[in-house]
Symmetry: C2
């Protein structure tokens, strides 16, 4: 932040406000404190019969790598709305959501990922604007070496384990930068 979005001042301090214990961007001219907070990424693990829908990214970061449909939650959206929207946009697919399944803290980039399990409504899918390809993968065909993000790797791993028992407890994990493949 270089300028105050409230008054236009170019004098933004990084300081600990009274009664606080963290550094914030504070405008010394109008006094406003500019808070920033972690963002949510909502996603889905969409299944059709015994296969999992993955999309190949056509945009950065991680262009050319495979991902589950997921993206930043927007203002005015529920987690469920966001997860379904990303599935429509990235995989041109309609999904029936089940329970929340995985939750990841990525403190180094101030993100929280939340994935639902889901079922494709009709088996239709395709490559959306941000995807170069989309496909249904059996367990033995998952491109483990070409997955876009650690959150995808972890969610798929948990799912294949949990599917054997038919029980899908919520899984929470912290993702550290060095885990990035």
């Amino acid at each position: 932040m270089k300028y105050c979005s409230e008054c236009g001042s170019g004098r933004i301090d990084l300081t600990i406000p009274g009664g606080d214990d963290r550094h914030r961007h504070v405008c010394p001219d109008c006094g406003i404190i500019h808070y920033t907070n972690p963002r949510i990424i909502a996603g889905v693990l969409p299944v059709w019969e015994d296969r999992i829908l993955l999309c190949k990214r056509s945009i950065q970061p991680r262009e050319g790598y495979w991902t589950l449909p997921a993206g930043f939650l927007e203002n005015g959206e529920t987690l469920q709305d966001g997860a379904r929207r990303e599935t429509r946009e990235e995989a041109l697919a309609q999904v029936d959501l089940h329970d929340i399944y995985t939750i990841f803290n990525l403190t180094h980039i101030n993100q929280v990922y939340i994935f639902f399990r889901g079922s494709l409504l009709d088996g239709d899918y395709g490559a959306g604007d941000e995807s170069a390809d989309a496909g249904l993968f059996s367990a033995e065909d998952i491109p483990w070496g070409e997955l876009a993000f650690p959150t995808i790797h972890e969610t798929l791993g948990f799912y294949l384990q949990d599917r054997e028992h038919g029980d899908f407890p919520v899984r929470t994990r912290d993702i550290e930068p060095m885990n990035r493949g």
Copy 2:
């Protein structure tokens, strides 16, 4: 947003950028798009023996009403860190976290609440800086008419039901503005 935080311009447009489908604050001078996204509130339902720890708020909003420890997740924090910090700050208590328990969408104020179940480590607690009082409440003593937020009411209600069966599935709900007591 009145001024661009990147270049200081006072000409901020509310427009749909190319390739997007939502209105954003866009600076016509430097071209930057200013995204805003929902914020996360992390909290705890802290239990000691068979009683639940509540805090009476000493700040607005809902000053004088009872709440579970909860607050905005900070950058660099995990959900768990945030939930524990709020319990220390608001209730001067140390808590051992169990699983994520309730998740609420509050789309009208762009917030997602996430509560963990937890156990007090040693039974110690008190009123923190943002609390006028704190106390352990049995089921029959919960001040239902004096709870601060619908998320608190719902979380306590789920807990008392689920405790009878000893099973605490993750509960997700949408909170609408008209539910506010």
